[in-house]
């Protein structure tokens, strides 16, 4: 959660990860289990499922294609000059 939060763009706050995890859980992309201990409160752990891994691989491929296409497009597009921006 801290890592996602540090990225600055992916979570509006750390707590919003729990609704996201719940959606992944409902979609079967992660599983969860509770661990009980005498000294602490019950704790919920999440684990990616095989289907989640497949979805992740597919997303990685889609993302690489998409990012490559956008990068190519941006590289071929001239950035506006400071002169035109000031007009």
């Amino acid at each position: 959660v801290k890592e996602l939060d540090r990225s600055g763009q992916l979570l509006s706050s750390q707590g919003t990860v729990y609704p996201l995890l719940n959606r992944l859980h409902e979609s079967g992309l992660v599983s969860s289990y509770w661990e009980m201990s005498d000294s602490e409160r019950p704790r919920r752990y999440y684990e990616i499922t095989n289907e989640g891994r497949r979805e992740l691989d597919e997303f990685r491929n889609d993302w690489a294609e998409f990012a490559g296409a956008v990068n190519t497009l941006m590289a071929s597009t001239k950035a506006p000059s400071s002169e035109s921006e000031s007009r």
């Binding site: 959660v1 706050s13 750390q14 609704p19 919920r44 979805e55 889609d62």
Partner: protein, 150 residues
């Protein structure tokens, strides 16, 4: 800071959560509350100052933010990120139809020389209908696959 102060701040946060989350179904509300409470109890230690605890609570986000995220998201269906793959399939089908059409045009002069005028018109019509049917079938198959995913 005393342990009691940290506990008091956590309780205050959870009270705000209870007030905000009333619209959520009871089982989901209880689960989310437990996760937020565990998050705070893990992140807050008795050695922390009141400012540090306030920072941890701020990083967690307001209950309204979290409930908003909970309420905004219809569950994402399996395979929902496969849009790119479907686009690739459509592209491949269009390319296949175009390649077929080009191949047909390449042999057309040879075939046409053996046909009468009315047979030429008929074959052009058949070719156009075949191309439209191929595209329509492809669109139907993709739409059916999307419906079955949802």
């Amino acid at each position: 800071m005393t342990k009691q102060t940290g506990q008091r701040m956590i309780r205050s946060y959870l009270r705000q959560f209870d007030a905000t989350a009333a619209a959520l179904p009871r089982p989901r509300r209880a689960l989310l509350r437990e996760e937020l409470a565990t998050h705070l109890r893990d992140a807050i230690s008795p050695e922390m100052s009141e400012i540090e605890v306030a920072r941890v609570i701020a990083d967690l986000g307001s209950p309204a933010d979290i409930i908003g995220e909970e309420a905004s998201g219809a569950p994402r269906r399996r395979g929902s990120s496969a849009g790119g793959t479907d686009k690739l399939k459509i592209l491949l089908i269009v390319l296949a139809v175009a390649a077929g059409a080009l191949a047909l045009f390449a042999i057309l002069p040879i075939v046409v020389s053996y046909l009468t005028a009315s047979e030429r018109n008929l074959s052009a019509l058949v070719w156009a209908l075949s191309a439209i049917s191929a595209v329509a079938c492809a669109a139907f198959i993709i739409a059916a696959r999307r419906r079955s995913r949802n």
